[in-house]
């Protein structure tokens, strides 16, 4: 499974959305119906799955699925 596929699987599970809704440019809050607490939980799930730590100031920059993938890549996740 590619990183993109892994990320989208987590998002589908956490936010109860379909694969079709998970376009790379989709915004968690505006397009995928997440609220601020959902976002925290989603980030926690990513931290757990990819063994990375995401600081609160980094979290603010993650608005879309592409942002999340780029961030994980910058942390060396394959």
């Amino acid at each position: 499974m590619t990183l993109e596929e892994k990320v989208i699987t987590i998002i589908m599970e956490q936010l109860d959305v379909t694969k079709e809704e998970c376009k790379l440019e989709a915004s968690f809050i505006d397009d995928l119906g997440a609220d601020s607490l959902d976002l925290v939980e989603l980030i926690m799930a990513m931290e757990e799955n990819f063994s990375v730590e995401i600081a609160d100031n980094e979290l603010e920059k993650i608005r879309t699925i592409q942002d999340a993938i780029d961030f994980l890549k910058s942390k060396g996740v394959q």
């Binding site: 956490q14 936010l15 109860d16 607490l37 959902d38 925290v40 939980e41 926690m44 757990e48």
Partner: protein, 418 residues
């Protein structure tokens, strides 16, 4: 109010419930009238090594008609149950809260212990994985007042909101307070009731430590036996009950179907002990008297009492004594039953579900039974409608609930007539 002190009359126009006997009022009431038991072995967790391994759990409940997967995952069960039974009650009342009604519609839902199960699981995560792994939903999913909070959001009820956290009386206190909120003019519609979903290790072991629960593990369906000589404690249950209350003219103007009228409410404190009732339970007697006073009724006007009747040695005997204090000679001709013999004790939900039983009894002219009353305790010598439901012309019904902390709450319902 007729003969009473309140000016605005309040009627019940919608009911919804989830109980160990069924996932709707209809299924539950059919179970009650056929004397079925909802008690079985605990499946929510591995109860090996627990003194009590039986409970009244919901069966095959599917939350997805009421909530989406994300909501179910992030909420404690008690919140899921509260929303589901509120949906059923609102559908039953055929009521939509539009922008004009929003500020005149409120929510009061009680819960004894809120998200105790979530608290317990979160503590395990905290100790095992550290503070960074605690869910952002741990606090909101634990707070008891998120039950009325989420119901208010769902139906856009922006009037008064509150949550009674009065142990096993929580549902009754909620309905009583909602009734007065309408009677005193602060709202025209109230969504009210009680909920609990605490069949969890902390709850069962805690009540076990108090020696409060039945340990009749080999015979779950015979374990809750109110007023019986062999009773040995209550059986913890889970569930939710919701009632839609409306000011009478508001209900009539929209052509609502009316189940019955809320006639009076009583609330008192024992000021005695943190968990035990005093001999004779004078606080309960004063509570029933207070409800009669508000209803403007004489004791002889009560046809049926849905007792608190927990199946604990002290409660049942003292409740009978309190009923005799209030009703005197009439206690011999009253029908009194404890439906906890079939549902178990649903904690904060119990008062709301039993209020619904009172309304169904009035509506259908059917007295729900007390099951498992095989050897009545000589100290409990009222007409408990043993074993089988019985027909009767029921114009008025009283519901008692008492809680730890010395809380007593009583509601009186009556058949509605103009």
């Amino acid at each position: 109010m007729q003969g009473g002190r309140l000016k605005r009359r309040v009627v019940v126009t919608g009911i919804g419930a989830l109980t160990p006997l069924g996932n709707s009022v209809g299924e539950t009431w059919t179970g009650i009238c056929s004397g079925r038991s909802g008690i079985g072995g605990i499946t929510r967790f591995d109860a090996t090594g627990f003194k009590t391994r039986i409970a009244g759990e919901l069966k095959n409940f599917d939350p997805l008609p009421y909530l989406n997967k994300k909501e179910v995952r992030r909420l404690d069960e008690f919140l899921v149950y509260a929303i589901a039974s509120a949906e059923m009650a609102m559908a039953d009342a055929a009521l939509a809260i539009d922008a004009g009604l929003s500020g005149r519609a409120g929510v009061i839902i009680g819960s004894a212990i809120g998200g105790l199960g979530t608290l317990e699981k979160t503590k395990v995560i905290l100790l095992r994985d550290g503070p960074e792994r605690v869910s952002p939903f741990a606090i909101p999913a634990t707070l008891a007042n998120l039950a009325p909070g989420l119901v208010s959001i769902r139906f856009q009820a922006r009037g008064p909101i509150n949550c009674s956290v009065t142990a096993c009386a929580a549902g009754t206190n909620a309905i009583g307070d909602a009734f007065r909120t309408i009677a005193h003019g602060y709202a025209d519609v109230m969504i009210t009731g009680g909920v609990d979903a605490a069949v969890c290790p902390l709850c069962v072991s805690g009540f076990n430590a108090m020696r409060a629960l039945s340990t009749r593990n080999g015979e779950p369906q015979r374990a809750s036996r109110p007023f019986d000589r062999e009773r040995d404690g209550f059986v913890v249950g889970e569930g939710s009950g919701t009632l839609i209350l409306e000011e009478l003219s508001f209900a009539l103007n929209r052509g609502a179907r009316i189940y019955g009228e809320v006639a009076g409410y009583g609330a008192t404190s024992d000021a005695f002990h943190m968990a035990a009732p005093p001999p004779g339970h004078e606080g309960a007697a004063r509570c029933m008297q207070a409800a009669l006073h508000e209803a403007g009724m004489d004791p002889v006007e009560i046809d049926y009492i849905n007792a608190h009747g927990t199946s604990t040695p002290l409660n049942d005997q003292y409740e009978v004594e309190a009923i005799k204090t209030v009703f005197g000679e009439h206690s011999g001709s009253l029908a009194v039953s404890s439906t906890k013999s079939m549902t178990g004790h649903m904690l904060g939900a119990t008062g709301a579900v039993e209020a619904i039983f009172c309304l169904k009894a009035i509506q259908e002219g059917l007295l729900p039974p007390t099951t498992n009353l095989e050897n009545p305790d000589p100290a409990c010598d009222l007409d408990f409608v043993p074993h089988h439901a019985r027909k009767g012309d029921i114009r008025t019904a009283m519901s008692n609930t008492f809680g730890f902390g010395g809380v007593n709450a009583t509601l009186i319902f009556k058949k509605w007539s103009a």
